[in-house]
Symmetry: C2
Subunit: 284 residues, 2 copies
Amino acid sequence: MNPQLETLPYDFLYHIGYSKEDAKKIFGDVKFVVMGGSSKRMVSFAEKIAKAINHPQTELQHLDMTRTDRFCFYKIGPVISVNHGMGVPSITILLHEILKLLHYAEAVDPVIIRIGTSAGLGLPAGTVVITDRAVNDYVEEQHKIIILGKRVQRPAVMSKPLADEILKAQTNTTFITTLGTTMCTDDFYEGRTNAACCDCTTEEKLAYLKEIHQKGVSNIEMEATALASLCNKAGFKCAIVCVTLINRLEGDQVDIPPDVYASYQERPQNLVCDYICGKLAGNY
Amino acid sequence: MNPQLETLPYDFLYHIGYSKEDAKKIFGDVKFVVMGGSSKRMVSFAEKIAKAINHPQTELQHLDMTRTDRFCFYKIGPVISVNHGMGVPSITILLHEILKLLHYAEAVDPVIIRIGTSAGLGLPAGTVVITDRAVNDYVEEQHKIIILGKRVQRPAVMSKPLADEILKAQTNTTFITTLGTTMCTDDFYEGRTNAACCDCTTEEKLAYLKEIHQKGVSNIEMEATALASLCNKAGFKCAIVCVTLINRLEGDQVDIPPDVYASYQERPQNLVCDYICGKLAGNY
């Protein structure tokens, strides 16, 4: 962590609405921070985990600790459920504040788990991928950022033991759950032929997707290397569990019927719910 | 626009929840798309503009056309009010879908206006900056992205006449409103000394901020070059109107009292509201 934090007379975590003073009072018991892009998904996860861990309160209004309109924020005993929006800049804003919150709270070995949706490569839609390698657009386990006008590269390190533990928690065999390499990109549409503006042909797109697939990429999303690099640098373990919505080797259009989409979104939630219950029960 | 769009048998704009078929039926009359990071701000803007243009419906429930939990979405006659989340990846997801929606709707010369918050340089907090140049971390009027593993650079072009028209609409002289150069970065915390992890000293930070200030940068936010480059490429005019929340030459902490913060957030909303009313009245 940043040693300069100790010298701050106060610290207001502006995007989540909590301060350094709140941290220890409220968040000292946190063991799991579960995050996902969509606020609806994280509200649903809050309800699910409350029931799963037999939390005395299962009604949302008692779990809702949202203080801003940037991120929804729920606390269910040792679990925080929070949304991170879409893309690297959005998740890093949340992560800096969540990691500071956990640090100020002196929470003991909390883990950060992202549950998300993603595009798959060569996998049937609905597959659950637990990330064991997070790579950038060049298939490197690195996260590149620009700090004060200078390019900085940080290793994107996932926790292999944590990924293995989550895989062990899977009991549903009606779909594939697998460890895999997850690519993080900064753009959803560029490189898709249904973008508003498009600089590539279907052939160029497929050649690139096949190439990265051959290099081992299982799925593509928009946060992995940021999460992996920042948690690694700050000394936190993290995991990413994503369901695939399409097989990009077959097309670009996400056009799943709403009920199927809802059932796919449940898969990472259910798995992480089972993992947390098992972990709290001392199974791993 | 992407000529491949014409060959698509259907196109579902997955993150806003509208399809190609909806477009012409519902959005043909759109003249202004106003967007901002926070959903609360865009709900507030929807109410404000409904009253300002004497829209027959001013109650939110009649204006709310939100279909997903990714972005809030309001339509008030010729105005769409929508939030874009935080950062380049999030706003580009929205923009690709909004630009396709306007294209399919055959909307006539609609303009895209972002109303946001930003950090200022050498300006008192509460200043309103209308962007006339959008620059990246290297103070270049360019937006850099990676498409299919290859680096692509696109010019970030703002519409000077549109910025001038918006400036003319300003009547409130109790705070500064100015044209300015806006820098777009991908990170809120890196480069701030109150980040969870920090690779820079206060001296390095101030040296960089003074350097970019001398190169003409008035304010810093997280979407400008993406908006400018994508709108320019697709043939749409765009504007950015941001209020500054702090003067970064004096500190990193955003700690404005809630009522002051609320009044600052109103400033770009009020200005864009007045601009739209003036434009609809034929004043510009």
